[in-house]
Symmetry: C2
Amino acid sequence: MKRQTDPDVRLLQGAADPTRLAILRQLTADGTVCACEFTACCEVGQPTVSHHLRVLRESGWVRAERRASWVYYSIEPKAVARFRELAGGLEAGGGSPFAPAAATAANAAAGRRLPVVQPA
Amino acid sequence: MKRQTDPDVRLLQGAADPTRLAILRQLTADGTVCACEFTACCEVGQPTVSHHLRVLRESGWVRAERRASWVYYSIEPKAVARFRELAGGLEAGGGSPFAPAAATAANAAAGRRLPVVQPA
DNA sequence: TCTCGATTTCGACAAGTATCAATACCGCAA
DNA sequence: TTGCGGTATTGATACTTGTCGAAATCGAGA
């Protein structure tokens, strides 16, 4: 595993964990959540929750805000926007979006024979 | 690290690697790509590419099709659909519950109805 | 100031993963 | 059949990551 410098990879890795996905889901549902809430929902120890929150922070998924003794977390809109860009950028084949002609042209331009096989 | 049974987590983990993201991007650009192409673009050995292609296969991202001596890969539309469901379900700013894992997986498995409660 | 509760950080361990070299497998052609 | 080229698997190794217990930090209030 080499160091992940690609911010997109970091973003994806940030969400690619069951505990962190649960955290993101709760944040999506409740908006702003106290750190102490996650300990209950995620079935892991409190230091582990803190660790995951740090990963989410460093990958840009969440922001933290301190109020008195508690720290409240909320989702970073920029992360959601980028995530949606990634989703939108993946134009898959099959049903519609990806143009077979374009694909064929690209493959030909790549300098290979590539008889493009269309998935059923 | 426990086994990831959540299909959403598996999907995210499938894409959360620089090599695999590069593969997905090339597949997005070219539609259908011979396995031998990835060895060139990803700067890793052939067994490593094969390993990543297997991970992408098992997480549902790609499908493989054999033509003579070559194996052609293309993106699985269902994976893209579910990825978009996840992106759409993440609503920044809070106040929008989005489908939990089971529901999302079920929706993806059903393959027709759209999921996720969209906030007003 | 000290104490208390919430949170983070540290140290360590276990488990997963990415990578490569070597090897096996699979179609095709001679 | 054998040989060949492309692809997948195996075994080994190093790195990364998730987890917990213990200690440290931080803010508020007595």
